[in-house]
């Protein structure tokens, strides 16, 4: 496999540069990339130190690094044009066409894409995160009227991380309720969920994958046995169909994809736009 070093440069956290870089790098499956993030490059000194770092890697490896930059300030950005690397400049590339289209000059403040731009929004996100934790795993059900969505599914079907992602990324109030053996035997929707049928969303998963996940948690006993897992999943899916609860099989999806699919297939609205 071919190796190459990749730098993510930012005057802020580097999260944007990483996100954009990763989505491009996944297109080159024959390469392996060593990744180095250099965040908070907000002075000439730090920029020069970053350039020395890049040049050193270039000489050591004999291949010039790839540099993904979200640096906003031109005076810092321009210094990297002389570094030994392929400099891919996310800001410069799109800022020009945007300025022309909007007939406006950009403010060229350091990218606050992942900063606190608005305290109200920030609070909303924290509130949503606390809600997800308090209403995790059926921990409490008394505040379900405040929930935007209630995820239901068997143990380890991905409810908790999805709720947290919905909260942290979109400010959505997401509760989750585990379907227990009793519920699955009768096939009846648990009593506490009945008043909230329009907020329910089901998660299911392939039995093989769930066996694997559960084994990592608790190898012994019937919890991770194929028989038990299949019984539970069949019961859950029958319940989703019986009560016409929208649902998704999460087996091949990441938490981001599951969250995005829930948003795009329901009326649940994001409370923040990041």
């Amino acid at each position: 496999m071919a190796h190459r070093t990749v730098f993510f440069l930012s005057d802020q956290t580097g999260v944007t540069a990483e996100t954009l870089g990763h989505s491009l790098l996944t297109q080159f499956e024959e390469h392996e990339f060593d990744q180095i993030t250099l965040p908070f490059i907000d002075s000439v000194d730090k920029a020069e130190a970053a350039i020395r770092h890049i040049n050193a890697v270039s000489s050591e490896t004999g291949a010039r690094p790839i540099i993904f930059s979200t640096l906003v300030h031109e005076d810092l950005r321009n210094r990297f044009l002389h570094a030994s690397g392929l400099f891919l400049d996310f800001f410069k590339t799109f800022l020009g066409p945007l300025e022309q289209e909007l007939q406006a000059k950009s403010s060229l403040t350091s990218g606050r894409a992942h900063g606190i731009s608005d305290t109200g929004k920030y609070d909303e996100r924290i509130e949503a995160t606390n809600f997800a934790i308090n209403y995790d795993d059926g921990g409490s059900t008394v505040g379900y009227d405040k929930a935007d969505v209630i995820l239901i599914g068997v143990s380890r079907s991905g409810k908790t991380p999805t709720c947290l992602y919905l909260a942290m990324h979109y400010g959505i109030f997401a509760a989750n309720y585990p379907l227990a053996e009793d519920d699955l035997e009768t096939g009846e929707l648990p009593r506490v969920l009945r008043p909230f049928r329009d907020k329910l969303y089901g998660l299911t998963i392939d039995p093989d994958r769930l066996v694997q996940i559960r084994k990592e948690r608790r190898a012994a006993g019937q919890y991770a046995s194929p028989k038990q897992v299949t019984f539970e999943l069949r019961g859950a899916e029958a319940m989703f169909r019986k009560y016409q609860i929208p649902h998704i099989n999460v087996t091949s999806f990441s938490v981001e994809e599951i969250s995005s699919k829930i948003l795009s297939s329901t009326n649940v609205e994001r409370r923040i736009n990041n």
Copy 2:
């Protein structure tokens, strides 16, 4: 304020397109943007529906929308060149230079930047998230030897969301422990934390902001009183200094920024690179 509609187009979740767009749009403070995400555009039919949507908004508002696209497939992408909007094509712009630099053709698979590319990584992230929940708020301390970092601070200083972000984004095992009144009075590091001094990281915050945050949670009583809050924060900061615990004042930082600063100022290493 000038208004403009913005579309985020993706054959996957749209997270990358949104990230790119948001970081650019924050540079235009005089504009207000109505944002519409169209995810999972993976067929000609869906592309054509998106184009009709864009054209309709363009006629209704009298201003052509801005389109941030991370569509990977050229045949879908090219259709949008005829839509009534400014089409900013993330893939086309950067794939060319990358292909040339790496002397390789991109695989042009749909962007899996936010997909499950690797089940092992996925499990690591879920494990880290479960760890953060189990070790939240001093809930358990018996597994602190497994922690990569233990955040300490007074109630509502941002420990929980930071731990969750570190877990979900970087796969880091992050616990958190609340400094209680007793600890703050004596100024001594709580006994359970002493074996883990090299894993500790302190969070502090300005008193005014903490009063505001606590009031939203519980307005009455001394919990949110300026006197109490100031006492607690002074005690926490004195403890950080006494034991030389690295720390950060989180007042003007987002969860992403706090997480990024912890990573860049300690030896804590990310377990996943997204």
